[in-house]
Symmetry: C2
Subunit: 195 residues, 2 copies
DNA sequence: GAATCGTCTTGGATGGCAGTCAAGATAAGG
DNA sequence: CCTTATCTTGACTGCCATCCAAGACGATTC
């Protein structure tokens, strides 16, 4: 019979650990922060973390879930803004999480939990982008490819902090997909517009 | 006075180590292959590697340099192929190096040597893409942004092996930048060509 | 041809890390 | 008060990159 000793303290403590880990993972990096540092920041013994989380990757997933949930909550408040502005805002909002983006990709190959999170996240991001592109007039036939380009560009912007200056330009070009071939088969014949 | 004991054997041995490291970094992963494994594969003692390379990151740079040089040599042979095909070929050629792409991004933040290599590589890639886009008729005003999108898309394709099926579609859409706003300010008014 | 001096190689540390184990605490339930 | 589930912890293991100090070995010098 489960006698819950500290009824909801459980969640609280877990959250404290996630908070400490989030700050360190984002600011310092995943590989660069030892579990001891997280424990110290959360004010617990290192091993206590292993009571709440299977391993460091599970903790990373918890951090990712929280960060994503917060971002989505913020995003829902401006769901009626113009599509381009939403995109721009999202990139700026996520900018601080560049290190998380890299580590997710790095660990996807070796940690199944991270791989699963990554796949879920891509589905979500693709759905959202598909909605945006559709509303921007991209035809169904090139929607998949446009969405994938969109995902890659956003990831790229986050992955390369030094590209911030040209960010606006890139997003404008991305969000306004005049890049709609009317008929792919006619592409071969169509003359180039440049010199 | 430098008395060279085994005159050119030096380069040979170094190359053997790089060969072993390349195979393991690409096939198994950087973080996943200990120095001992590289040493065993190269038939030397672990510490011998440290005679030829400062540390594991320096070895990674050597691997990256070789892989890039080989790819560029191959590429020069088809410099006269159509721009789209060159792009497609490049992505397929680099596909096998997905793990290297992730690790470069992961270590850029912490290893200055990797950061420097990464910056150089981006300059090179951007120059090449700029040439391609220019020849495809992208006007100067949106060239920078197009190039950046190009780099991000290629990186994205390499970073996400599961997107291989739609690769061709994505590259076609990318390489044929009908996404040329003739005048950004007129974008607001211009009717969409889609349904 | 023996001492010497760079070039290279290696066995054996060292210190940091993630994760394990088994021994406690603590408080609710009986 | 004693059992039991929940939680916490110190001590430990094993892996890893990297360092150190001792050698091996051939060319140079005398």
């Amino acid at each position: 019979m489960p006698r819950n000793r500290r009824p909801q303290n459980r969640e609280e403590k877990r959250d404290e650990i996630v908070t400490a880990a989030a700050k360190l993972f984002i600011g310092t990096g995943y590989d660069e922060t030892p579990m001891t540092a997280i424990a110290a920041a959360a004010g617990v013994a290192t091993n206590t973390i292993y009571w709440y989380f299977d391993d460091k990757d599970a903790l990373l997933v918890a951090v990712l879930d929280r960060v994503l949930a917060e971002a989505l909550a913020d995003a829902s408040e401006r769901a009626d803004a113009p599509w381009e502005d939403q995109l721009m805002w999202a990139v700026e909002r996520l900018d601080q999480y560049g290190r998380l983006v890299t580590v997710v990709h790095a660990r996807t190959a070796i940690a199944p939990v991270i791989d699963a999170w990554h796949a879920d996240f891509h589905r979500l991001a693709e759905d959202m982008l598909a909605g945006g592109f559709r509303s921007a007039g991209v035809p169904e036939e090139s929607l998949r490819a446009s969405v994938q380009i969109g995902v890659f560009v956003i990831e790229g912007l986050l992955l390369h902090p030094d590209t911030a200056p040209s960010r606006r330009e890139v997003i404008n070009l991305l969000a306004r997909p005049t890049h709609v071939h009317r008929d792919p088969r006619r592409d071969e014949a169509r003359p180039r517009s440049g010199s």
